[in-house]
C-alpha cells in the first residue's frame, strides 16, 4: 500500500469520515457509554477497534467468495463472532469494565459503523486497506467517544478517569439529556472547525493553482519572447 493511500485512509477514518462526528453512526453506544466515564469510553473504543479490524480483515479476505445475496448474514456472523470473543476476553480479564459496559458490549454486533465499513469498504477493497480502514475508523470512534466521555465526566461528576477532581458537578451532563446536548455540541464544534480548515485548504490549493498557472504562463511568455 502506498503511503498516500495510507494517509488518505487514516485521515478519512479519524477526521473526514469520523464515524461519530461526521457520519453520525453508532449513536446508541455514544450516548450511553459516554455517561459511564472516560475509562468505559476507552474500553468500548478498544472493543470496537478489535472488532472492526478483524471483521474487515476476514470480510476483505472473503470478499470474492461471499455471494452477494448472502453477504449481510455472512457479515453479521463474522462480526458477531468477534464481538463474542471480545466480550469473553473482557469478562475473563477486565471484569469491572465488562460489568460497566454491560449490554452495550454485545450491542457492538449491530453497531452501524462496523456493518457500514464491512459493506462499503472491506467488501470492495484489498486486505491491508481494509485493516487500516478498520483501525482508523476505530481510532476515530474511540477519540470522539473518549473526548465526549471526558467532558461529561468532568461536568457531570466532577471526575476524570474515575478520579474525583472536585465536588462541583452539573448532574444534567451525566443524564440522558446531557448526552444529547454534549453530542450535539461536539458535532457542531467539530464540523465548524472541519469546514473552516477545509475552506482554508481549498483557498490555499486554489492560490497555489493560480500561482502555478501564472508561473507557467510567465514561463511560456518568456519562452515565446526568447523564441
Amino acid at each position: 500500500m502506498k503511503l498516500k493511500r495510507f494517509k488518505e485512509i487514516a485521515l478519512d477514518g479519524t477526521v473526514r469520515q469520523n464515524p461519530t462526528l461526521r457520519l453520525v453512526l453508532g449513536t446508541c453506544p455514544t450516548l450511553a457509554v459516554t455517561g459511564m466515564g472516560a475509562i468505559s469510553c476507552l474500553g468500548m473504543g478498544a472493543a470496537v477497534i478489535f472488532v472492526l479490524v478483524f471483521s474487515n480483515l476476514i470480510i476483505s479476505l472473503l470478499r470474492n467468495v461471499i455471494p452477494d445475496k448472502v453477504r449481510i448474514p455472512c457479515f453479521i456472523m463474522i462480526i458477531a463472532t468477534f464481538v463474542t470473543i471480545v466480550s469473553m476476553f473482557m469478562e475473563a480479564y477486565m471484569e469491572k469494565l465488562f460489568a460497566t459496559l454491560g449490554i452495550f458490549l454485545d450491542l457492538i454486533v449491530v453497531n452501524c459503523i462496523i456493518l457500514g465499513r464491512a459493506e462499503s469498504f472491506a467488501s470492495h477493497n484489498p486486505v491491508l486497506d481494509s485493516v487500516c480502514d478498520g483501525l482508523f475508523m476505530g481510532i476515530g470512534f474511540t477519540l470522539s467517544l473518549t473526548l465526549m466521555g471526558i467532558v461529561r465526566e468532568i461536568l457531570g461528576k466532577g471526575a476524570l478517569f474515575g478520579v474525583q477532581l472536585w465536588n462541583f458537578k452539573i448532574a444534567f451532563f451525566a443524564e440522558k439529556a446531557g448526552a444529547f446536548l454534549t453530542y450535539a455540541l461536539f458535532i457542531a464544534i467539530f464540523n465548524v472547525c472541519y469546514n473552516a480548515v477545509e475552506r482554508k485548504l481549498k483557498h490555499k490549493a486554489a492560490r497555489n493553482a493560480v500561482a502555478i498557472e501564472r508561473e507557467a504562463e510567465a514561463a511560456a511568455s518568456t519562452e515565446a519572447k526568447e523564441a
Binding site: 459511564m36 472473503l62 467468495v65 461471499i66 455471494p67 445475496k69 448472502v70 448474514p73 455472512c74 456472523m77 463474522i78 458477531a80 463472532t81 463474542t84 470473543i85 469473553m88 476476553f89 469478562e91 475473563a92 471484569e95 460489568a99 460497566t100 459496559l101 454491560g102 449490554i103 452495550f104
Partner: protein, 424 residues
C-alpha cells in the same frame, strides 16, 4: 426449448447452493473459533463465585459438610439457585429476582449474617438489564444491609425504584429472605423463629380453655427499665433463670400476668393478685426467679382506653421504687421513688415523690416541667382522692405519659394499704 429452460435454471440453483454452502461454512468456522476461545476464556461458576466473594466477603471459608436444602427454592419473587455457608455461619444465597426491565432477571449473591441480618450482596449476572451499570458500585454494601430478614422485611419491602433493574434486585433479596424464613434448618440457625408466638401458645396451653377468649398482650420487659438502666427482665431474673416474656392476660377487667422463662424448655408462672394461679412443669416455688416475681408485683390499671402497668422493685420503710411500665404506645418507663406515710385513718398518703425520667415520650424542656408539676400536685394523694387530684393536674397532650406517673403512684399507695391491712 426444454433444454434451454434446463440450462437457465442451473446457474440459479448453483448460485443458491453456493450461497448456502458459503454461509454454512462461515458459520462452522465461526463456531469452531468460538469453541477454541471458549476453552481459554470461559468463566465457570466457581470462578464467578470466588470473584463475587472477593468483592463482598473476603472472609468466606466453606463450611465443612454443608449441604444446601433447596426444598423451598421457588420464592414468590424469584428463585434460589444455590446456597453456600461459611464456617463463621454466614449464608451466601444465590438468588434470582424477577420483574426487571423487559421482564428480565438479576441474579445476586445475598449474604446473610448469623443474626439474620443482611451482610451485603453482589450481582452475579442478569438478563436484559441494559442499565445494570447504573446500579452504584457500592450498592451491595449499602442497600438493605443490616436489615433483618424476618416476616416484616419480606412483607413490607416494596420496590419504589428509579429503574426496573432495581426492582429485580429487590426481588432477589426478597427471594433470599423468603428462603431463610421457609427453610426450617436455616430458619432455626438464624433465629428467625417467632419465639414470642411460641411462648404465647405455651401460656395459652397452660391456662387452658377457660382463658381461650382472653387477650394475651406482651409487656415490654426487655426494653422497659425499673431504675433507668436495669430492664424489668433483668430485675426479675437471677443467675439460673432469665425472664423472657411477660403476657398480660385480660378480659373484662379480669387480669393476670404470665411470666415465661427458661432456655430450652419454657417455664411459665401465671400470677393473679400477687398469688400463683398456675405453673408449668419444672417450676418450683423455691426457684429464685419465682420469689422475685412474687416480690416484685406488677400492678395494672386502666385509665380510659389505656392500660397502665407499674412494678414495685423496692419497698423499704415506706419508700417505694416504682416503675410505670407501659401505657398505650409509650415504649419506655418512668421510675419514681414514692414515700408513703400512714394518714390519720391508717391509709397511705403520698409524702414525697422523686421523679426520674427515662426518655418515655416526654420531651425535655417545658413538658418535663409539666411532669414535675404533676408529681408535685400528687403530693398528699391517697387512693380515694388520687382520681380528682390527677384529673385537675393531668397534662393535656401527654396523657399517656401522665398516666404512667399516676399508675406508679397508685401502685405504691395500693401496696402500702395492702401491707397495712396484712399487718393489722
Amino acid at each position: 426449448m426444454a433444454e434451454k429452460t434446463k440450462k437457465s435454471a442451473n446457474p440459479t440453483l448453483i448460485a443458491a447452493v453456493k450461497a448456502v454452502a458459503v454461509l454454512v461454512c462461515i458459520c462452522v468456522v465461526c463456531v469452531a473459533l468460538l469453541a477454541v476461545c471458549n476453552e481459554f476464556l470461559y468463566i465457570d461458576d466457581e470462578e464467578r463465585f470466588s470473584r463475587a466473594m472477593r468483592d463482598v466477603y473476603s472472609g468466606y471459608v466453606p463450611a465443612d459438610g454443608f449441604e444446601a436444602d433447596l426444598t423451598h427454592a421457588s420464592a414468590p419473587t424469584g428463585s434460589i439457585e444455590k446456597v453456600y455457608k461459611s464456617t463463621d455461619g454466614v449464608y451466601i444465597i444465590e438468588a434470582l429476582g424477577n420483574d426487571g426491565y423487559q421482564g428480565g432477571t438479576v441474579t445476586l449473591y445475598v449474604l446473610i449474617n448469623p443474626d439474620a441480618t443482611i451482610k451485603s450482596w453482589a450481582i452475579k449476572e442478569n438478563t436484559l438489564q441494559s442499565y445494570i451499570a447504573r446500579v452504584p458500585s457500592d450498592a451491595g454494601t449499602k442497600w438493605y444491609v443490616g436489615k433483618r430478614v424476618d416476616e416484616e422485611f419480606v412483607k413490607d419491602m416494596t420496590g419504589a425504584t428509579v429503574i426496573k433493574t432495581t426492582d429485580a434486585i429487590y426481588n432477589a433479596v426478597k427471594a433470599a429472605a423468603w428462603y431463610c424464613l421457609n427453610t426450617e434448618s436455616v430458619k432455626n440457625e438464624l433465629g428467625l423463629i417467632d419465639k414470642e408466638g411460641l411462648a404465647r401458645d405455651a401460656v395459652k396451653q397452660l391456662l387452658g380453655d377457660g382463658y381461650a377468649d382472653y387477650d394475651f398482650a406482651p409487656v415490654n420487659v426487655s426494653s422497659a427499665t425499673v431504675d433507668g438502666t436495669k430492664s424489668v427482665a433483668d430485675a426479675l431474673s437471677d443467675d439460673a433463670d432469665k425472664l423472657s416474656y411477660l403476657f398480660r392476660v385480660s378480659k373484662d377487667g379480669d387480669v393476670l400476668f404470665a411470666y415465661v422463662y427458661g432456655e430450652e424448655t419454657l417455664k411459665i408462672v401465671a400470677v393473679k393478685d400477687g398469688e400463683i394461679l398456675s405453673k408449668s412443669e419444672g417450676v418450683e416455688d423455691t426457684d429464685a426467679i419465682v420469689a422475685n416475681i412474687l416480690a416484685n408485683r406488677i400492678y395494672t390499671f386502666t385509665f380510659g382506653s389505656y392500660n397502665a402497668y407499674a412494678i414495685i422493685t423496692n419497698a423499704a420503710e415506706g419508700v417505694y421504687t416504682v416503675a410505670g411500665l407501659k401505657v398505650g404506645t409509650v415504649p419506655n418507663t418512668y421510675v419514681l421513688k414514692v414515700t408513703i406515710v400512714a394518714d390519720t385513718d391508717g391509709k397511705g398518703k403520698v409524702e414525697k415523690i422523686e421523679l426520674t425520667t427515662d426518655g418515655d415520650g416526654w420531651e425535655q424542656g417545658v413538658p418535663q416541667d409539666n411532669a414535675n408539676k404533676l408529681v408535685t400536685s400528687l403530693k398528699g394523694a391517697r387512693l380515694d382522692n388520687i382520681d380528682s387530684l390527677y384529673t385537675d393536674n393531668k397534662v393535656s397532650g401527654a396523657t399517656q405519659s401522665a398516666d404512667l406517673i399516676r399508675a406508679a403512684v397508685q401502685a405504691a399507695l395500693t401496696a402500702f394499704d395492702a401491707s397495712q391491712a396484712s399487718a393489722d
